[in-house]
Structure formats: structure tokens, C-alpha cells
């Protein structure tokens, strides 16, 4: 690619990304009533999306070979247990990450 082609490619990627970010706000601008259906979606989509994001983080884990996803699963278990114990964000995130970094070097 030439420099101009590279700039066009980057600009096009920016345009598409901006479109996905702004669309809901363009459809329902300030002052316009948000339909009940979208208010409902606004409440129920997010918890589902967090499930999707967790799966997304694990998408390249191979459960059939290598360490069989054990470092990931054990570290997630550690995160859950630390969360239930401490009920905060910081301890489970640090604890789970340290646990993972140790496990991938051992397994």
C-alpha cells in the first residue's frame, strides 16, 4: 500500500468504528423519549454482554490440548472466590492475574 492508501484504510476503519459508537445516540438524541423497549434492553443487555466479554477473553483457549485451559479456569475460580470473600474489585483482579502468571509458567 502507498501512504495515501494507508491513510484511506485507517480513515475508513475510524469511520466504521465511529458509526457503531454513535448510532444509538443519533437515533435517540437528547430530549427525545427513549422507547420502553430500548430502556428495557439497556437494563438486560449489559449483564449478558459481560458474559460475552468473559467468553471473548477465553476464545483462543484450547481445552483439548496443551494445559487444557486449566490455568485460565483455575485463575477464574480464584477471581470468583476472592470476590466472594473480599467483595471488592482490586483483590480478585490482582490475585487472579498473579495466579494466572504463575500457573502458565508451571503448567
Amino acid at each position: 500500500m502507498t501512504i495515501v492508501q494507508q491513510i484511506i484504510t485507517i480513515a475508513v476503519a475510524v469511520a466504521a468504528t465511529v458509526l457503531t459508537r454513535f448510532l444509538p445516540y443519533v437515533l435517540f438524541p437528547e430530549g427525545k423519549k427513549i422507547p420502553d423497549f430500548f430502556l428495557y434492553l439497556g437494563k438486560v443487555l449489559a449483564p449478558a454482554v459481560f458474559g460475552l466479554l468473559v467468553v471473548y477473553c477465553l476464545k483462543n483457549v484450547d481445552f483439548a490440548a496443551g494445559s487444557h485451559g486449566l490455568p485460565e479456569l483455575l485463575s477464574i475460580l480464584a477471581v470468583i472466590l476472592l470476590y466472594l470473600w473480599k467483595k471488592n474489585m482490586f483483590v480478585p483482579i490482582v490475585g487472579g492475574t498473579v495466579c494466572y502468571m504463575v500457573l502458565i509458567r508451571l503448567m
Binding site: 466504521a16 465511529v18 457503531t20 438486560v44 459481560f50 458474559g51 477471581v79 470476590y83 474489585m89
Partner: protein, 260 residues
Amino acid sequence: MKKHAAIALKAAFPFTIPILTGYLFLGLTYGVLMSTSGFPWFYPMITALVIYTGSMEFLLVRILLSSFNPVAAFATALMVGARHLFYGISMLPRYRGVGWKKFYLIYTTSDETFSVNYSAEIPDGVDHGWFYFWVSFLDQMYWVAGSTLGGIFGSLITFSTEGLDFVMTAMFVVILMQQWTKSRRHVSELTGLIGSALCLKVFGPDRFIIPSMIVIFTVLTLMRGKLEKNMKQEAAVSTYHSAALETSGAESVQKGGSGS
């Protein structure tokens, strides 16, 4: 106004600490990939700033190395960015009435910024608009800083940081747990987890996000009547529980933040 901004910055920063770690590391990886692919250091810096979607940027490296095809680049970015639609719908009511900051808040929507701004219980007396702004701004700066540093010094890093990216997984798990403890029947959470896992199995790691979104949207739309009834029933009970939970959560994050 200055005072509002300062108070909100103090309240927002602790929530962004996991993202500081994750974005610096992932941004660094992106910068290294760009520089080892032969692009100058300001490429990762500028793309980090204007595109600001990690997954798209990693794909962009491959796209820039292949032959010129703007239509394919546009379609790829649309697909990768499609989940922003869900974030937009979820943040619609919350981002209302924040004034000039709104444009910036929408522009800097990311998985992590959305997660924090959606789930954080903003302390009393803190201006919501400024809180959202600082989370968005700090996160974007972490990402740009990581990407730029990666582009400049990437090839010099020798110590093993392998596995540090798990910080993002851990953060999403914690936020999912927060959501989980707020509801009794967990229909949304389970739809997201099981639906996406099935789609991952069927469509593979590179194309499962859009099918997952369709499954989530369809299931939650079909179950609207039942779920709205549940929400009303749970409202009284769960407000009490989650309020207690979130207060202790936010406090500990702040303690953890200032202690480190």
C-alpha cells in the same frame, strides 16, 4: 466546575487501575506488533488515538500489510465494532445531560470504559458527567501511552510479561460477578455466557461475536414480559443487597488504589 472535576477525578482513578495495567500492556503489545511489522512509531500512536478499539487495531496491522481494499476494511471495522451498539443502548439514559462531554464519552466507548462506567456505583456528591469523563479519558490515555511506548521501545523489552493480559479477563469476571449478585434468576448473565459459548463452538473464535449478539438480543427480546415481571419483584430486595455490596466494593477499591 474545577472543584467538581477534581473530586470526580479522585473518585474515578481507582476504578481505572486494572485498566491502567491491562491497557499499558496490551497497548505495548500492539505498538510492538506495529513496529516489528515495519511501521513507524507514530502509526500505533495515531491509530490508538483515533480508532481506539484494540481488537480492530490488531486486525489493522494485517490489513495494512495486505493489498488495498477499503470496502473490506470498512466491513471488518463494522463487525468488530458492532458490540458498541449494545454499549450505546445501555448507556443512553446515563450519558444524557452531561453537556459538551457527551461527544467525547461516545467517541471513547470501549469494552473496559463501558464496563466501569456502567457498573461503578458513583459515590454521593460526585458529578456523574465528570466521573464518566475521567474514566474515559484516563483509559484512552493508558491505551495511547502503551501503544506509543510499544512503537518506540517495543523491541527492547526482554523481561517476560506473558499472562499480564489476564488482568482484563479478571476484571470482566469481577464485573460479571457484581451483576450476578444483583439478580436472583441470572437470566441475562446466563444468556450471555451460554449463548456466546455455544456460538464460539459453532462459529469459531474469529466470527462468533455477531452471532452471539443476535442470540442475546433474540432471547432477551422474547423473554421481555417475563423478565420485566421478575425485575419488579426483585427491585425491593436487590436494591438493598446491591447497595450494601457496592458500598463496600467501592471503598475497598479506593483503599487498594491508594495503598499501592
